[in-house]
Symmetry: C2
Subunit: 204 residues, 2 copies
């Protein structure tokens, strides 16, 4: 199985602009990418990075400047055999949960992201294609069924947590075991608790 | 194994006050409770409700007016043998994922909630006690280890999604299969998509 990790090399994680400066967002995104690549390897696979521009990383990189949907569909169309696609901002991914994803039977195996996105999938059916606009998880469920693929869904808090917004940082601080959590702590982020409320990530 | 579902019978789901009126919050909370009770039964267990006041529901009800921590600890102290505790606002719970929780080995098996809470647990160690204030998940990890219990964590998006805030409603609309999702749809909630953003729940 090819395992591809799409990565936006340009201005990443713009929705964290309220809490991180531009160079910080780039460094944090790189830390999350490193964690995802390590988790893929811990699951026994060799990751490839599919980037919108050159990126200096310890893995093979394919540059495709097109939007995510087109770039991923080019991989799907150009590959004989199964393809796994794992987003680069899954900072809670571990080898164990990715091995469960890669080992789940199904023509298309989907992992929903919080808020309706698609955080990862495995495609074994040759006709499955992606469309990441809008509520892509529901679209991908439909597309897989329309392609005639058997569909499975992996239920994982770690894999459903993509890190886009300030509220997601707390999950990294709570459950992260890699460089992204370390990066946040070194940048001064810590857990803060209000009684009755969920925990927040605050910067000291 | 006793399976206890704590339920706040008073003014529930106050953090949804911005989108739901008081009687609506009560009705939605009851719909979620019904879904959780059905999921516990689908997992092959008989649920008991632990409520802060009288509640008319199709399950045995114990009324304990004390705060959640004290009421749950009274159950733990008063029970010989394993106890499962499942929060009443896990609107995505299914029999399958609860069966996985109940079947996971460990002296204490924890399910973190998004934001650092504890959405469910199984306690087989006689000395484990809860404290739901603050980041209870981390506190419960520590308490379980200090009690000398073996600890396991269940990684489930369905069980980690407790429904407290407006942003959680979208998960119910996306993945809910029971009365809570139906209640939201009948109340006029639907998915709305902005390009590039996560999906939101809007009321028509």
């Amino acid at each position: 199985m090819r395992v591809v990790v799409p990565y936006a090399a340009g201005d990443p994680k713009t929705r964290l602009a309220g809490v991180l400066a531009g160079d910080e967002r780039a460094a944090f995104a790189r830390a999350m990418l490193a964690d995802v690549l390590a988790a893929v390897r811990a699951a026994g696979r060799e990751p490839e990075v599919l980037a919108t521009g050159p990126v200096d990383v310890d893995a093979p990189v394919t540059v495709d400047e097109r939007p995510l949907t087109e770039a991923v569909n080019a991989v799907l169309a150009g590959t004989d055999g199964p393809v796994g696609v794992v987003m680069a901002d899954l900072a809670l991914a571990t080898g164990e949960v990715l091995a469960e994803l890669f080992g789940t039977d199904g023509g298309v195996v989907l992992v929903p992201g919080r808020g309706g996105g698609t955080n990862a999938f495995v495609a074994r059916h040759p006709d499955f294609r992606v469309d990441y606009h809008g509520a892509s998880y529901l679209d991908h469920l439909r597309a897989a069924r329309e392609a005639g693929a058997s569909v499975a869904v992996v239920d994982s808090h770690r894999l459903s947590t993509d890190v886009d917004e300030r509220g997601d940082l707390v999950e990294v601080l709570l459950h992260g075991e890699g460089r992204a959590a370390e990066w946040l702590r070194e940048a001064g982020f810590a857990l803060a608790t209000d009684d009755e409320e969920r925990v927040r990530a605050v910067r000291e």
